[in-house]
Symmetry: D2
Subunit: 282 residues, 4 copies
């Protein structure tokens, strides 16, 4: 298991030229428990162990204790990824400025296997079908030549002393930018959940995945609870519950089955409540 | 069915002396569709009917089109309810000020049937057990006498020209306050979901419930989708899914069963994906 | 003077192909007063006229009543402008999606007079020096040819059925996008102030300016107060105040001079307090 | 000068029974510079020294680099102060819960010298006039007796097993509560500025003041810039500038005067721009 403090400064490469680096963080699993204990006061201090408390908070979407932990990342990413990323408003950002500074000669080039056809079901994404290798290689070649040409034009404009803020307007969305991005743990987990979703664009999923890896050693109990109760959970609508009911054998599971899966105490009673609701669906 | 515009200005009483009044609103179901169409452009305009689009957005937690509708309420509520309410940060507030103005002689007095014992399972709430009527009446009497006495002391302080901001410090949490509260539909639904929860305090549930009534005629399709996909849905954790699997008959439901419940097309295929995930749980 | 309700739906062109259109709004100057009166209660109702109240609120940065008014715009803008704009986090956004839909053949082309050299003092902006006309025309020609070529490549990629989310990565930052953008009046005025600043890029200043025009007829008193107390005010640092003091004649202005400029009552007394502070600077 | 890391865990008492304790923080003056450098890239790296950069950012209200530093406090405060405090929405909070836990027997009792009459000019605050000592002592006596009686009634209610969430509704606004409060430096400085204002209630000013003391050793350069450019600056409206102009001697100050006050380079040129604007007021 990796050491908490060794994570500070750790950098993981993403895509062909990008990265995500954990610059700094404040707090860990203990900080979450500590903040939650303020809310509960002496009332519950000895009742629930720390791990159980964190899992309880996650299960019940008591989000505020998770907001007490903060992470700061340095990220290098293509502009079209940055445009999706910035839609998450509950974060702080300092981005490299193409008005102050010269943009660098770095552009995103997809791997051959990522050059795929339009997805006809999920209308926003790419399908599982790769283009024929030769065709894909020609596409990469076109992308590359164009990126080179656009950077040359940019350089010529700068050579003519055109203002940087204007010279850059024809640079492509594949241009890499950089930013510092700071966010609390609750909002980061929300970001990771949304951006790990199969509907998210592949290129941003790569970053969400690596950020998960960077924080897991710092908040291991929280991350496990996040996987159990959010990431790998399923939500069934009112109507879906009615159908589920028809698919089920009549009887409730025995307690021993719940224990086999580590569900006991308050969580077991909550699960039984849900099962009763499910079995009483119309 | 109530008329959309007739809702403007409508007021519903809450608790013994409070109310929630819908001062104004901007947008309705159509405004949500209109905003969503901007995102999807010509790509999907004719494919999905408006109702299906709204349900798709709700099911997939595409929250931003719901943020395009705004509601403004005038609320009168006890201070202890206001303190829970204000924790929702994504709203705009103008509250009556006890520094500028004299507090009024109005305090919350619970109904007899709400005077109940501490809940031992849900450690934050009250149980279903009412106190004996005589005891409860004595408690109401104590509450009432104390409220009267506190207001008298407040009046004496004001009579001595003590600054209002100081004279009010011993007024009780049961004192009624008022505010204007403005919020977008997405965040309002989130508020309603959290505050209709059985773990929420009874007194704030009353307000959440009445706000739901006020907005339902304005965004009927959205509210129905909210009930189907959020309010009356159930979420099962990774481990719970494993147990559910053991409780289920082996085979998947026939399409006709899904149709019976109005699940078809994309939604049916999504449901089948979830069932397959469920049935492949370890 | 233009009518308030006629502004709904009004559209103003911006740059060569963009626009800003006021889709809807909720509230006006009266709504601000109404919300503020809730805070002040009976304490001050008859004391200050509505206009004076709004000016008092603006002068004292009492921002919450201004948050009670909401505006929704439809904007068409180049992506590099959108990237600056989106940094304002206190707004709701629905943007045209290049993943769902095909991007249109529209790119920003600066006017000849906007093709200027790098500003050497304000390191982020352009100077007042235009490039020689012939040179500027050649630059426009280059920009135009490149934009055409990039769109052709994009079309070829789509023709090969490459996923839209990938086909668009070499489209330039000058590509036009569209969005619905909803914001409250306080945050809109903040946006306008920042984006009318001479340090802001010319292209976004154009939009800020037009949005000011669109809302002025709806909140005329507020907008005038905004100009007087924020937009055309000046802030002097502690040290600058010390120097200002040395530059001033010793005596305070007579009341008649203040009245000449319409400063009286509470505002006059506040101004005198500031002058006394200024004249006592070390 | 106090050591940065020694501040972690430091607690300062506030009012009669409250405190503010700095639980943790992330970043310092260097972290601000580091984030700002990302924006400016190589363009300005060597030009401006760190101190000048921070002062430039503060002067120009470039707030995002200051958002890269985070502070977490543990605060004990009366509920009426908490109600003002919570209006700042850009922070994370975990408060002691009177539903989960028993409220403690601790209430705010103002000092004799704080028992003052209503301010007739600043209609929300107290005046400089203290009540006669005997009268003030009698008021304290009344407050104290009432607080004791209210806590007794609360204890009796709990003894009858009334739900805690109900038993507490007549506890007074002077009751102490506790919370963890986490906020970034930019928003904390905004909080401090607003809550140090003479219009803020004395009791919250005490906390703002102590939080300033706690963070000053951690971000000394930023705090000094905050005092120079925000806290001790003055803002003059358009009309006030017209009057200031009449009060001024005609000529601009010599450069040597500016240098005497440490204003040089870019800042001097910006100041001269403001003076020119001032002297050209109508």
């Amino acid at each position: 298991m990796e050491n908490r403090d060794e994570m500070r400064g750790k950098r993981i490469d993403c895509l062909d030229k990008g990265f995500v680096r954990l610059v700094d963080f404040m707090g860990d699993d203990d900080a979450i428990v500590q903040a939650a204990r303020v809310s509960y006061g002496k009332g519950t201090k000895s009742v629930r162990a720390d791990r159980e408390l964190i899992r309880y908070l996650m299960r019940h979407r008591h989000t505020s204790p998770f907001e007490m932990v903060e992470f700061k990342f340095h990220v290098k990413l293509p502009i079209f990824v940055a445009r999706q990323w910035i839609r998450h408003r509950t974060a702080n950002v300092n981005e490299y400025s193409g008005r102050y500074s010269e943009m660098k000669d770095e552009f995103y080039m997809p791997d051959l296997e990522q050059i795929r056809t339009q997805n006809q079901v999920n209308r926003q994404g790419r399908s599982d079908t790769r283009l024929p290798v030769e065709e894909a290689e020609k596409i990469k070649d076109t992308l590359d030549k164009t990126q080179k040409k656009l950077y040359e034009e940019y350089q010529i404009f700068l050579g003519q002393d055109i203002a940087r803020e204007l010279a850059r307007i024809n640079l492509p969305l594949s241009t890499y930018t950089e930013w510092y991005w700071k966010i609390d743990l609750h909002n980061l987990l929300h970001f990771i959940k949304l951006r790990l979703d199969e509907h998210a664009q592949y290129e941003i999923r790569v970053y969400a995945n690596k950020m998960g890896e960077l924080i897991k050693p710092i908040v291991p109990v929280t991350y496990e609870a996040f996987e159990d109760y959010l990431l790998e959970s399923l939500n069934f609508s009112k109507k879906e519950l009615s159908i589920l009911k028809r698919m089920m054998k009549a009887e409730l599971p025995e307690d021993s089955l719940l224990e086999e899966f580590g569900i006991k105490g308050l969580e077991a009673s909550e699960f039984n409540d849900k099962l009763n609701l499910l079995l009483s669906s119309q």
